[in-house]
């Protein structure tokens, strides 16, 4: 592989990793702060993608669809937390796993009822549909660069939220010691609701923004969920930094694994996970939000 192709593959891996980060960060926050293992998180990614599909067909404009979609997903997240997830705090892990497993089935079937089972494409906005020539044979789609830029910006925003804001301080405190936070008079319920809403919105946004380059299809939620589990475990539950580092690692391993080891493409990521777990069972970054 020549240097130019190597660099482009790195770019591919980073782009995939940044997208994963959006989804994984929500998962790890919910887990770290609320102690809930939520298998249905991948469904939010799918819901986002389908929202992008339906809303952009309705409005004719992807950006407008995304803006609407963000609002809708925050509302959805808060409603879900209030109606359902609030009851999961006292349950043990097996019950949480099974409850959210049932939720995946419900979401998938609702999606089937509302949007059918076909594979759909989402139109790319005209302004971003070009390609930049990188080598004599290869060009890179502008939209993918745009996606990476947006994900980076969001990562920065998330950092600011968690490390430089009041609610971020509460989130960090809640992640390390829930009971203490409550006894200090902070409304932990509100913190939970915000965290969950943000998590859902991030996952849905990832689905929306990726929709033009991935197709919108049944099962896309569970595919991304499993990979996000790997990311969260490698990075450390509750750690957003960990999620970022792990996402990039997974993105790169997956991208290079596909072309270097076609016979073990899917396997490579799990081998890395197993190695990390055996070396550091609690993830690379432990619990440091």
């Amino acid at each position: 592989m020549d240097i130019a192709s190597l660099l482009i593959q790195v770019l591919n891996g980073v782009q995939y990793g940044l997208l994963l980060f959006l989804v994984a960060s929500g998962l790890t926050l919910v887990f770290g702060v609320m102690g809930i293992i939520n298998l249905a998180h991948g469904s939010f990614y799918m819901i986002g993608a389908y929202m992008a599909f339906t809303l952009s067909s309705l409005t004719g404009n992807l950006f407008l669809a995304i803006a609407l979609g963000i609002v809708l997903s925050i509302v959805l997240g808060i409603a879900l937390e209030w109606a359902f997830f609030a009851r999961l705090y006292r349950r043990d892990h097996l019950e949480q796993v099974l409850l959210t497993y049932g939720l995946i089935l419900v979401f998938e079937e609702l999606r089937s009822l509302v949007a059918g089972n076909d594979v759909h494409g989402v139109a790319m906005p005209q302004a971003l549909s070009g390609s930049i020539s990188l080598t004599s044979v290869l060009s890179y789609p502008v939209y993918r660069l745009f996606m990476s830029g947006v994900c980076l910006a969001l990562a920065g925003g998330l950092y600011l939220l968690i490390h430089r804001s009041r609610i971020g301080m509460m989130i960090r405190a809640g992640a390390s010691n829930r009971e203490m936070v409550q006894s200090l008079g902070i409304d932990i319920q509100l913190v939970y609701r915000v965290v969950f809403g943000v998590g859902v919105a991030l996952a849905a946004f990832a689905g929306m923004i990726a929709a033009p380059v991935s197709s919108v299809y049944p099962g896309m939620g569970t595919q991304v969920l499993i990979i996000c589990f790997v990311v969260v475990v490698i990075g450390g539950i509750g750690s957003v930094w960990g999620a970022l580092a792990a996402s990039l690692l997974v993105g790169l391993v997956d991208t290079f694994g596909r072309v270097l080891l076609p016979n073990a493409a899917g396997l490579s990521v799990y081998v890395v996970m197993a190695v990390v777990l055996l070396w550091r069972p609690e993830g690379l970054f432990r619990r440091a939000a």
């Binding site: 192709s5 593959q9 044979v137 299809y217 049944p218 076609p262 016979n263």
Partner: protein
């Protein structure tokens, strides 16, 4: 006397299985009635749903053109959605064969599913007509008197394109497809003809089925700089790949070839990115034969949609079955005669003249097509009357 608390739990442990069983014991009588039971095992959901529907429509059109009867018998349809899932294939086939007790099984699209179906059909000696799946094994090592195909083998289309590539003086190629039976067979057919003519496949790229994330592969293809890329995808995957290929600028720098499925039923979604693509298939748009024109007109009228290769294959399945049943006057019990009649049939197919090989696979011309607008226009014949070598078949 105190009852042990374990008592009721034990009772339940015994009763639940019994109760569940009572729900399941049916009154199943073998009904050998006047109606011919045809079982469709096709994908009606997921990435191949459109194909399943097209095949079903084509078959039903064929039956309608025969007055709604095959061999003088009215047809009763049973359907199972196989979801293109090999994991559920045996169970789904069992549902049609053992539960619904169909006379004929028609299916399917996905080769992995079809292989499992064929196994069940062989075990139960059920008549099976394959209206799409191109797995060579079905008319190879798994061939059987009761298994027929009205579509193609993957090898046929791949081989034809390999010949075309040699004629166009290409020297190096990279192949790219899903890693499953069908993908492997397209590539091996292409490679056989290409390397026999002096070409070289420099690398085979594989992506796990049914993933559609192609970015890293497209980068790799560009790095290898071959004379051409031969790729097979179908349905949603075909749409995505052709678009990704064009978005990476490769469409103008490295020619893309593939079997017809790369551009079949996908041109609307692919738009500009597919224009000018060359593919090989046993069917095309713009064929100059009367049967095709009549077929397309009838299909359009009945279903308000354009006929495609899948519909045509379903239609030919009805034609083949009809020809066989006519010879035995609808008596499916006369299996040996039925099979002989089907083997000897000369089908006036919309694709042109079609006969069956000894292994029960179609022998027909393979056309070279080019995408022009929203059509795959025939521009020539890649190989005439190509028969699959049916390696491993003992018929």
């Amino acid at each position: 006397m105190k009852k042990s608390p374990l008592h009721a739990r034990r009772i339940l442990g015994a009763l639940v299985p019994i109760a569940a069983l009572c729900l399941l014991v049916p009154a199943s009588a073998r009904a050998a009635g006047p109606k011919l039971k045809v079982g469709f095992m096709l994908p009606y959901t997921g990435t191949y749903a459109a194909l399943g529907n097209a095949i079903t429509n084509g078959f039903k059109l064929g039956v309608a053109e025969r007055g709604g009867k095959l061999g003088g018998r009215e047809v009763e349809y049973f359907t199972v959605d196989d979801e293109s899932d090999p994991a559920k294939a045996t169970e789904n086939a069992s549902k049609l064969i053992k539960r619904d007790q169909v006379d004929v099984l028609v299916g399917t699209v996905h080769s992995g599913v079809a292989l499992a179906m064929a196994k069940v059909a062989r075990d139960t000696n059920t008549l099976l007509i394959v209206p799409n799946a191109g797995a060579g094994d079905l008319t190879g090592p798994l061939c059987a008197p009761n298994i027929f195909r009205t579509s193609f083998t993957n090898w046929q289309s791949g081989y034809a394109m390999g010949k075309v590539a040699i004629e166009q003086k290409k020297k190096t190629a990279v192949t790219f497809t899903w890693k499953y039976a069908a993908g492997e067979e397209f590539v091996s057919g292409f490679q056989e003809a290409f390397e026999a003519g002096g070409g070289k496949v420099v690398k085979q790229l594989w992506v796990p089925f049914p993933q559609v994330e192609f970015q890293s592969y497209v980068t790799e293809m560009a790095a290898l700089k071959p004379d051409l890329v031969y790729a097979f995808f179908a349905g949603g995957g075909a749409v995505k790949f052709v678009k990704d290929y064009a978005a990476a600028g490769l469409k103008t720098t490295i020619p893309l070839y593939g079997p017809g499925f790369l551009t079949e039923g996908t041109l609307e979604a692919q738009g500009e990115s597919a224009q000018g693509l060359l593919t090989t298939l046993h069917y095309a748009d713009g064929l100059d034969n009367a049967k095709d024109k009549a077929f397309r007109a009838a299909y359009e009228k009945a279903y308000k949609a354009e006929a495609d290769v899948y519909a045509m294959q379903g239609y030919d399945a009805a034609q083949l079955l009809g020809a066989g049943l006519e010879a035995v006057k609808g008596d499916t019990a006369k299996r040996a005669q039925l099979v002989a009649a089907m083997e000897a049939a000369h089908i006036d197919s919309p694709r042109g003249a079609m006969t069956l090989s000894k292994a029960h696979n179609p022998v027909n011309d393979i056309y070279l097509r080019r995408v022009e607008g929203k059509r795959n226009k025939v521009i020539g014949v890649a190989v005439k009357a190509l028969a699959d070598p049916a390696r491993g078949c003992k018929l």
